[in-house]
């Protein structure tokens, strides 16, 4: 992959609270804000950080399943509610399952690279608490091969799919080691979330997180190899950030140090109808991250902060290996040793990640970019970790490792 033909920057990120079970203000029996609320709140939080919103040339919004969760299509048009100056400009919604947010970023990057836009507002949104978790599982199953997999698949479809991966990984490294590492991943996620007031697990005050994480899975009521703590929860939320060329930054009135540079990106799709080549590897994630790093001309050792797609604790462990931080099968030990905690050498998901912050599916990729931008520009507040290196890397995954977008960001 060639180097980036033109500098592209990320700046002025923001995201909303991830609302859902775990937040004190969440009540499944009362009404809740809808798509408009989240789009407005995240979008306007971006605009509050810049001068004139009229300099925005385009909008892109990532969303997975509003058509089912909210019976709403046409989100490209809906996103113009953020500000009147967005009207009569290009805006579109992109979809790539849980990588929809990552895909929105990739789409925006290409617009800036094309030279047709200097400033792109990139958003992601999902409002999922409109249905019970059992029916949410139906909608999210659309990220798999529906015609081929759903009918014979488990009731909780994606937990079932990643349970298979957890089982295979346990068979490879030993089930006890795998379970302990997944429990440690859960503990890290909640401990990080407790520092992030917008996180779904912010109010979590359970004293012994590891004990929860070690809960034996119940195949009769849920899955064979995953317990409920291994899973990201059902979430409502949105994230937004600006992509800009050098000229765009100037128009926005932002300095270089307010922004991070997109040093490289990888965007890949794998065959939705085929089973994963190896249950113990996130192959597409590995290839996309490698592509992004090659484009940026860096190795994984050059990155000091990480955002990975831990929709389940097992995908967190496998992401550590996919990034090349550990050899295949060695990720569990690395996580158990605390290497991916905010105090470790590879601080990962410092705002809580999908398990700690929450997983409003279409927003997650954009939220990752916001968290990396905050860390790399020293804006992460209570979540801030000391940065030993110049780069951050994120991997946004859709479905069972089928659509992946990876970004390397440079301070």
């Amino acid at each position: 992959m060639k180097a980036m033909p033109r500098p592209v920057y990320l700046a002025a990120g923001a995201y909303t609270v991830s609302l859902g079970p775990g937040r004190r203000e969440f009540n499944p029996r009362t009404g809740r804000p809808g798509l408009d609320h989240y789009i407005r709140e995240a979008g306007r939080a971006v605009l509050a950080q810049i001068g004139d919103p009229a300099v925005i040339d385009e909008g892109v919004i990532g969303n997975f399943m509003a058509a089912r969760f909210n019976r709403q299509g046409h989100l490209g048009s809906l996103m113009t509610i953020v500000h009147p100056s967005l009207e009569y400009k290009p805006a579109l919604r992109v979809e790539g399952a849980c990588a929809s947010g990552g895909l929105a970023l990739a789409t925006g990057i290409k617009s800036v690279l094309s030279g047709l836009a200097d400033v792109v507002l990139v958003m992601g949104v999902e409002v999922q608490n409109t249905v019970k978790a059992l029916y949410c599982a139906d909608y999210l199953a659309g990220a798999g091969y529906y015609a081929g997999e759903r009918k014979d698949g488990p009731a909780f479809f994606f937990p079932g799919r990643f349970s298979e991966r957890a089982g295979a990984y346990g068979a490879k490294v030993g089930p006890a080691l795998a379970r302990s590492a997944m429990a440690r991943w859960y503990r890290n996620a909640v401990e990080h979330a407790r520092l992030n007031p917008d996180a779904q697990e912010y109010h979590n005050s359970v004293p012994d997180l590891l004990a929860h994480g070690l809960t034996p899975p119940n195949p009769r009521t849920f899955t064979e190899h995953l317990n409920l703590f291994d899973c990201s929860k059902v979430s409502d939320g949105a994230a937004a950030i600006l992509l800009a060329s050098g000229e765009g930054l100037r128009r926005l009135g932002l300095a270089r140090q307010d922004a991070v540079e997109v040093a490289g990106f990888g965007q890949l799709a794998a065959n939705l109808t085929a089973p994963p080549p190896d249950l113990t590897e996130l192959t597409t994630c590995r290839l996309a991250a490698a592509q992004a790093m090659a484009m940026a001309g860096i190795a994984i050792q050059d990155a000091g902060v990480f955002e990975v797609h831990d929709c389940f604790t097992i995908s967190g462990l496998l992401s550590v290996e996919a990034l090349g931080l550990a050899a295949p099968g060695a990720g569990a030990e690395l996580v158990l040793a605390g290497a991916t905690a905010r105090t470790g050498p590879f601080p990962m998901n410092t705002g809580g990640g999908l398990i700690g912050y929450g997983h409003p599916t279409g927003a997650s990729g954009v939220r990752m970019a916001v968290d990396l931008w905050r860390q790399l520009t020293g804006r992460a507040g209570t979540c801030q970790v000391p940065l030993a290196r110049e780069h951050g890397i994120m991997v946004s995954m859709g479905g069972n490792d089928k659509t992946v977008v990876s970004l390397v960001l440079r301070r």
Partner: protein, 442 residues
């Protein structure tokens, strides 16, 4: 005729009531699953009630509860619908299941609807006149092989079956409230009960995942045999304490002691409100008529005459009775002299608490102990502490404990229960007590 054959034609009489609707739900779900597993057979559930609005409310309730059950049983549904290519999502299957449940339901206002039923559950108003009228009518309409399962909690069955021309075909199958949740069924087998019916009732209880406790065919059986006398004891205590403490504080004292000192899930007057003071009175009348025992209470007559009845609103909320409630918790005590409720958030309640004195040590609650797989040691320590306290609260608790124990022993003595274990089991399973009345903690 086996249970499965009988379940193909079932009726519930009094189906829109509190107990009837719960029984209807249990049967509706059971019949739907059987229908799905036996696609060539038809299963019909006739739901009979005199109240049109009640029947519509019942169908709505069954729809909502069927969806909840289907959601809980999603793995079973996914397996049952494996060959249905048109059902893919969880939602498709739960909706289809709800349809399958409602498909079996026929509602109506007359007993003619039960004419083909082979099993008839009856949960009608608890008076002998009503039950006699129903069974005489059913005896004329239903096939000779039909079995009748009554949910009566007090009326002796042998004379009822004989008087109505269904001898041997009637059994007591007494669910506890709410039937869909409570594990206990008190099984009352009249003297002439057909062995086939007794065996069938046992099999049905297992099918519905209920635990049966046998009680003998003596008015009130075990559950009400204890509860009614326990309630009347509490009323006598209030009358004893009222001259010194005043009626309202006295009622509060007795209710609180039975809950907090005896570690019951609710106080005795709250329980009477839960059952309904009017229902309580009906049961005392049935029991008094058959047992020749004086079970009359002037206080009950008086509050009912003032329109204070307790019982539950259609949504399940507790209606005011001896106590008034906020968010399900006692918040005021009824004062018949004033015809009004006296709030617990008042100095008199705090004074009453002070007069009771401290709770035994170490502190326990019914809620915490109810989750304890074996609370025996904690209960022993609690009652040892209670025994040594020289306070009004401890004195009232000891008196109530002994009265309750004596009531339990009386049930064994009179042959209502076959042994102390059956009394204890009914109180533990049906009333959620932590310990049976016939125990030696004091």
């Amino acid at each position: 005729m086996d249970l499965n054959t009988r379940l193909r034609q079932v009726a519930v009489v009094g189906a829109a009531g509190k107990m009837g609707s719960g029984i209807a739900l249990l049967l509706a779900l059971e019949l739907a699953y059987r229908a799905l597993e036996q696609p060539d057979a038809t299963f019909i559930l006739n739901l009979i009630d005199m109240n049109d609005a009640g029947l519509q409310g019942l169908v709505r309730y069954l729809r909502d509860q069927a969806a909840k059950d289907g959601e809980k049983q999603i793995n079973r549904l996914r397996a049952l619908f494996r060959d249905r290519a048109d059902l893919v999502d969880n939602q498709d299957m739960v909706q289809e299941f709800v349809f399958e449940v409602l498909l079996r339901i026929r509602t109506g206002k007359t007993l003619a609807l039960a004419a083909e039923s082979l099993l008839v559950f009856e949960a009608a108003f608890e008076t002998e006149e009503v039950k006699h009228a129903i069974y005489r009518d059913l005896a004329a309409r239903c096939p000779a092989e039909t079995f009748f399962l009554t949910n009566t909690s007090s009326i002796p069955l042998q004379p009822l079956g004989e008087a109505c021309g269904i001898p041997g075909r009637l059994i007591g199958f007494h669910f506890y409230n709410p039937p869909a949740v409570q594990k206990l069924v008190e099984l009352i087998r009249p003297r002439d009960c057909a062995p086939e019916l007794a065996a069938l009732a046992g099999e049905l209880a297992r099918t519905l995942r209920k635990t049966t406790v046998p009680a003998n065919d003596i008015a009130g059986f075990i559950g009400n045999g204890h509860f009614i006398r326990d309630g009347l004891y509490a009323i006598r205590e209030v009358e004893r304490l009222a001259p010194e403490h005043g009626f309202v504080p006295a009622l509060y004292l007795v209710d609180r002691v039975s809950r907090d000192f005896l570690l019951r899930p609710m106080g005795i007057f709250q329980l009477m409100d839960y059952v309904g003071i009017d229902v309580f009175q009906l049961i005392t009348r049935v029991m008094a008529a058959h047992l020749g025992e004086d079970l009359h209470s002037e206080l009950i007559d008086r509050v009912l005459a003032l329109g204070v009845k307790g019982g539950q609103a259609p949504g399940g909320a507790q209606k005011p009775g001896f106590l008034d409630y906020q968010k399900g918790r006692p918040a005021a005590v009824y004062d018949p002299a004033a015809g009004a409720y006296a709030s617990l958030d008042s100095p008199w309640a705090r004074e009453a608490d002070a007069r009771l004195g401290p709770l035994p040590e170490p502190g326990q609650s019914w809620k915490a102990l109810s989750r304890d797989p074996d609370p025996t040691a904690k209960l022993t320590a609690w009652f040892r502490s209670l025994r040594d306290l020289d306070t009004l609260g401890a004195d009232l608790a000891r008196r109530h404990y002994r009265a309750s124990r004596e009531t339990g022993l009386g049930l064994v003595r009179r042959g209502v229960a076959d042994g102390p274990e059956d009394v204890n089991e009914v109180l533990k399973l049906g009333f959620f007590h932590l310990y049976g009345p016939i125990t030696d903690y004091l």
